[in-house]
């Protein structure tokens, strides 16, 4: 890295950039994009926060770079700096060279000529990234006309329709007239990609483009992104927290931690021979469809440092099991690894790791399973039984004279059974009825139709008093650990609240609270603190403690780890597994992350449009799914292993989840079913007319007429 004279530093104190003469040889770059020693600081009343602390990377023409990091690692801020879209209060230093010309210190007007034309970006949340008051077509045409003043409105609109077709929007002429709220999340993200590729940019930055989407839609979007890259020949920078997403697509990846790149290399190097302990820990802590269920997860202890108050030394040292004294005093630079020109790592002990002197798998101790004598004795009996549960919502119109114009079949006759000490994983895309199902169960009231049995007793036949007593036995842990804890109550009151409801005396309550806090791995002395003083993982432990304080038999877990960072997830999953063994709990585990479900569930039920389409032992369902939907769902999950990703074939489901108001005759999955299209006319007729009953095929219970022909799909 050459360092030119900082002569302009005093002239412009706000934006300490390198002098900008793009034609001097010292400043040119043969790379498409080169980021040199980028630092971004946000001044704040309580002291400045340096979100990016010296980042160097480059992207070549047509290359696919993945940048991986947890929230707060500076990955989004550094990409916004490239686009020149940071708030004006941000202090940026270092240099950003695009096609050899420096971007820092340029005016908004100059940069705006480059944005969209040379570099374009796809943002995370497609729900809010499009202006709600303009049609999709207008917003794409706008991008075109901004960079080509001579383009007529008509021609821009025609090109917009063409672009919508490229990104796979069916019926693009009509859909171009639609407003963003008429598009589903996946379709909006396709429209975002259409905007991004409209002017054939040389670089596309995709900032968490699939994080807000379902796994089947994620697979579609990644495919569209790859197609867009092939069409335009653009280089792509994909920013994500999900190692699986980059494994299959990227050429090189860079791992960020605490505002710096801590490891970079080709995908194979980083995934197969990681040399920074953080990368090693991250890869080991991720539940992985290929290995989950057999091995215990290895958690990465601790939490990422606060960037406002960074201790000297390596920022990862406090969490690093192999940290030595030197790690706590000096921050290691990103040093190349001998023999691998593209691979570099910021660790003092990189040589020991790279040479194999330090065994990668041995760095993180695998947590011990719960000792046999601590395990609870389990009498195998059914604790929660659901039979033909139905929840329909009427769709009404009119405010004075309400009349029903349709029915939302949120839950449409589902049955399952959970035995003591076991976990049932309920999976499916958003909108399939998972949440309605658990809300119906937790209500402990008579359902619209069907039966809910808790501990072998029908809840519909219970008195109010009995029902209240029963609530002690069935508790819930919610998805968002911040939103589900009252910010104005100290933790002990939050945890003790269920006991207050059931009239437990104060002294007993306090003792119980201390016991459960200890059980979930929190220090009981922290009981008088408030929720905001805890990290995300700790807050979720508080949520679990609150659920456990009444000694329940059944715990309903509604996406308990999906709001947590990858490195924190493993610890919570392990805790849930340990608690189940120690207390003999039964879990109803609702999640959209199939790898997490694979890790924890004994049985799995797959939901689609209010129905369970397949259920059975987790082992069977994950290894040999019999329903085409399950198969597609599993194949859509990215695996954090580049060699697996490259060889396997994805089954991409067409379109979005249909609306639950639609009346689909016969099998309700046939509109998206890949198997349906492979069947002959007689078999298709059966799918169209007859609603498939669940039947046992190879150990799992499947609702498909043609499960025996599932082999056709691969």
């Amino acid at each position: 890295m050459t360092n030119s004279a900082p002569s302009l530093d005093s002239a412009s104190p706000r934006l300490r950039t390198r002098p900008r003469h793009g034609d001097t040889p010292s400043n040119t770059s043969e790379h498409l994009l080169e980021v040199r020693d980028l630092r971004v600081t946000f001044p704040q009343p309580g002291g400045a926060v340096t979100a990016v602390r010296g980042v160097n990377y480059h992207v070549d023409k047509g290359e696919f770079l993945g940048i991986v990091g947890e929230s707060g690692s500076g990955k989004s801020v550094s990409s916004l700096a490239v686009m020149g879209l940071l708030p004006s209060s941000a202090q940026i230093s270092g240099d950003i060279l695009f096609e050899g010309r420096s971007l820092l210190g340029r005016s908004d007007r100059e940069l705006s000529k480059l944005r969209g034309e040379g570099i374009s970006i796809i943002f995370q949340d497609p729900l809010s990234a499009l202006t709600p008051v303009y049609t999709i077509g207008t917003q794409i045409a706008e991008a075109l006309q901004l960079h080509d003043r001579n383009l007529s409105k008509l021609a821009a609109n025609a090109r917009a329709v063409e672009l919508l077709k490229v990104v796979g929007i069916p019926n693009p002429e009509r859909r171009a007239q639609a407003f963003p709220h008429e598009f589903s999340g996946g379709m909006r993200q396709r429209a975002m990609i259409a905007i991004a590729i409209a002017n054939n940019p040389r670089l596309i930055i995709a900032d968490e483009p699939t994080t807000a989407l379902d796994v089947t839609i994620q697979a579609q979007i990644l495919e569209v992104l790859q197609k867009a890259k092939d069409l335009t020949g653009a280089a792509v920078v994909l920013i994500t927290h999900d190692l699986g997403v980059v494994a299959g697509n990227a050429d090189r990846i860079a791992v960020m931690y605490a505002g710096r790149i801590v490891e970079t290399g080709t995908v194979d190097e980083v995934f197969h021979a990681p040399s920074m302990p953080y990368t090693i820990g991250l890869l080991r802590s991720m539940p992985n469809l290929a290995t989950a269920g057999h091995t215990r997860l290895v958690p990465l202890e601790g939490r990422p440092p606060m960037l406002s108050n960074l201790a000297p030394g390596c920022p990862f040292a406090p969490r690093c099991p192999i940290a030595i004294d030197a790690c706590r005093t000096t921050e290691p630079p990103l040093t190349p690894i001998s023999g691998k020109p593209l691979n570099a790592s910021a660790c003092l002990r990189v040589d020991e790791i790279a040479s194999g002197k330090l065994n990668r798998t041995g760095i993180y101790p695998v947590p011990e399973p719960v000792a046999l004598e601590e395990r609870a004795e389990i009498v195998p009996e059914s604790v929660l039984g659901v039979e033909g549960l139905v929840r329909h919502f009427p769709l009404t119109k009119g405010s004075v004279f309400k009349h029903t114009i349709g029915t939302v079949r949120a839950v449409d006759g589902i049955s399952f059974d959970i035995r003591s000490g076991q976990t049932l994983g309920l999976v499916g895309e958003s909108g399939c009825g998972k949440s309605t199902t658990i809300m119906e169960i937790l209500e402990l009231a008579k359902p619209q139709s069907g039966q809910i049995m808790v501990n072998g007793r029908d809840v519909a036949a219970m008195s109010t008093k009995e029902r209240r007593a029963l609530r002690r036995d069935i508790q819930v842990v919610f998805q968002d650990p911040m939103a589900s804890l009252d910010p104005r109550l100290p933790v002990q009151d939050i945890v003790a609240e269920p006991l207050t409801v059931h009239g437990v005396p104060a002294r007993e309550r306090l003792q119980k609270v201390r016991d459960v806090l200890d059980l979930v791995g929190l220090d009981p002395s922290m009981a008088s603190r408030y929720p905001h003083e805890f990290s995300g993982g700790q807050r979720q432990r508080i949520g679990i403690a609150r659920a456990l304080v009444t000694d329940p038999k059944i715990v309903v877990l509604d996406e308990p780890v999906s709001a947590l960072d990858v490195s924190i997830q493993a610890g919570v999953i392990n805790l849930l597994e340990d608690l189940q063994e120690k207390l003999g709990l039964s879990y109803l585990f609702v999640a959209h992350d199939l790898a997490v479900v694979r890790q924890i569930a004994d049985n799995v039920a797959v939901m689609y449009l209010g129905r369970i389409v397949e259920s059975g032992p987790a082992e069977d369902i994950f290894n040999d799914p019999q329903h085409p939907y399950t198969r597609a769902l599993l194949s859509a999950v990215p695996v954090p292993d580049p060699s697996v990703e490259r060889t396997r074939r994805r089954i991409i489901l067409e379109g979005d989840l249909p609306s639950p108001t639609e009346d689909i005759t016969g099998c309700n999955f046939r509109t998206r079913c890949p198997l349906y299209q492979l069947m002959d006319a007689a078999a298709q007729e059966q799918c169209r007319t007859a609603d498939p009953e669940r039947r046992i095929v190879k150990g799992s219970s499947v609702a498909c007429h043609h499960a025996e022909h599932i082999g056709l799909m691969s």
């Binding site: 705006s112 943002f123 949340d125 002017n199």
Partner: protein, 327 residues
């Protein structure tokens, strides 16, 4: 969509009817039209007073419900709102005055809306900078000032200006100069010169309120993701804020428009008095001071109809601005 607007219109119409009827009942209970005659010298006989009051339909000895019924029957069968104390019909009084008030109100509201939106957007974009602070403090000052103070301050300034220029550039008494001769153009200029100060006075009050709401609506929009998207397409910050930001920030303003219209009406009544305009506001204030129940109800009906129109208009504007509510 049209069904929705019609439904809202019917709602507003029912509310206006309720407002007018309650105003009638309230005025009948509180105002004492007989008092006007009792103080006269020589005092008219009780029979005379009763006859006059009966003629107007405001005799306190008749039960309120019976009077309200008569008033309603007259309205429905003859389209009459009764007579004023001065023995003119309320309808003809209103017809003479409505144009005056509407001219002032419509101009004032439009100017207030335009300035309010521009100042609000400007303040939000330059949040906490000097210009934003100036706009904020200025609008707080205006909001805190009673409307007659603003009117009088404007008059003082206009007088100062006229003195400096040595000519009557700005006239501010009445609607037009009485007895002015000249062509159409001269009359128009004269009316415009008279219109200037009252309009400014109304517009200032309106704009002060609008700009606060527009500023906060705009601040919500400033950090929106779609502004970032628009900039990433190649718009400059300013152009993205105008094309994508202001357009969205206007949506909540249309609701505020309906609610604030009523306050503007109240302010207009005082403004008319200050500038000696013979409009509906003056009629309302006079009706109260003269205990004229019929005129009072007429003035309230006028206000209610204006609020009804403003409310319906704001619904139409909302639907025009926001495709998400179009059905």
């Amino acid at each position: 969509m049209i069904g929705f607007i019609v439904k809202r219109f019917i709602n507003y119409a029912i509310l206006s009817a309720i407002a007018t009827l309650s105003a009638y009942v309230l005025a009948s209970l509180i105002l004492n039209p007989a008092g006007r005659y009792l103080g006269r010298n020589p005092r008219p006989s009780d029979e005379t007073i009763n006859a006059i009051l009966n003629g107007l339909g405001v005799n306190p000895n008749t039960p309120v419900v019976a009077r309200l019924w008569t008033w309603l029957v007259n309205l429905v069968t003859h389209g009459s709102l009764g007579d004023t104390i001065h023995n003119t019909s309320v309808i003809s009084e209103m017809a003479a005055r409505a144009g005056t008030s509407l001219r002032l109100l419509i101009l004032g509201t439009i100017i207030a809306a335009i300035f309010g939106v521009v100042l609000g957007v400007w303040g939000a974009v330059r949040q906490y900078k000097a210009s934003d602070q100036v706009i904020s403090y200025a609008s707080f000052t205006i909001l805190a000032m009673p409307s007659f103070v603003i009117g009088i301050l404007l008059m003082i300034m206009a007088t100062g200006l006229n003195n400096i220029l040595g000519m009557q550039l700005i006239s501010f008494t009445g609607e037009y100069t009485a007895g002015l001769d000249g062509g159409w153009w001269t009359l128009f200029l004269d009316r415009a010169a008279h219109l200037l100060l009252p309009t400014i006075s109304l517009a200032l009050m309106g704009a002060a309120g609008y700009s606060r709401y527009q500023r906060s609506a705009m601040l919500d929009v400033l950090s929106a993701d779609y502004i970032r998207t628009a900039r990433s397409k190649g718009r400059t910050r300013g152009s993205a804020l105008v094309r994508h930001g202001v357009r969205v920030a206007l949506i909540p303003m249309s609701t505020y428009f309906a609610y604030s219209f009523a306050t503007v009406l109240a302010g207009a009544a005082v403004t008319e008095l200050v500038f000696s305009w013979h409009g509906m506001g003056e009629m309302l204030v006079q009706a109260i001071t003269e205990s004229d129940i019929n005129a009072f109800t007429g003035a309230i009906l006028f206000n209610a109809i204006l609020v009804l129109i403003a409310g319906t208009l704001s619904d139409v504007v909302y639907a025009a601005l926001d495709p998400r509510v179009r059905v």
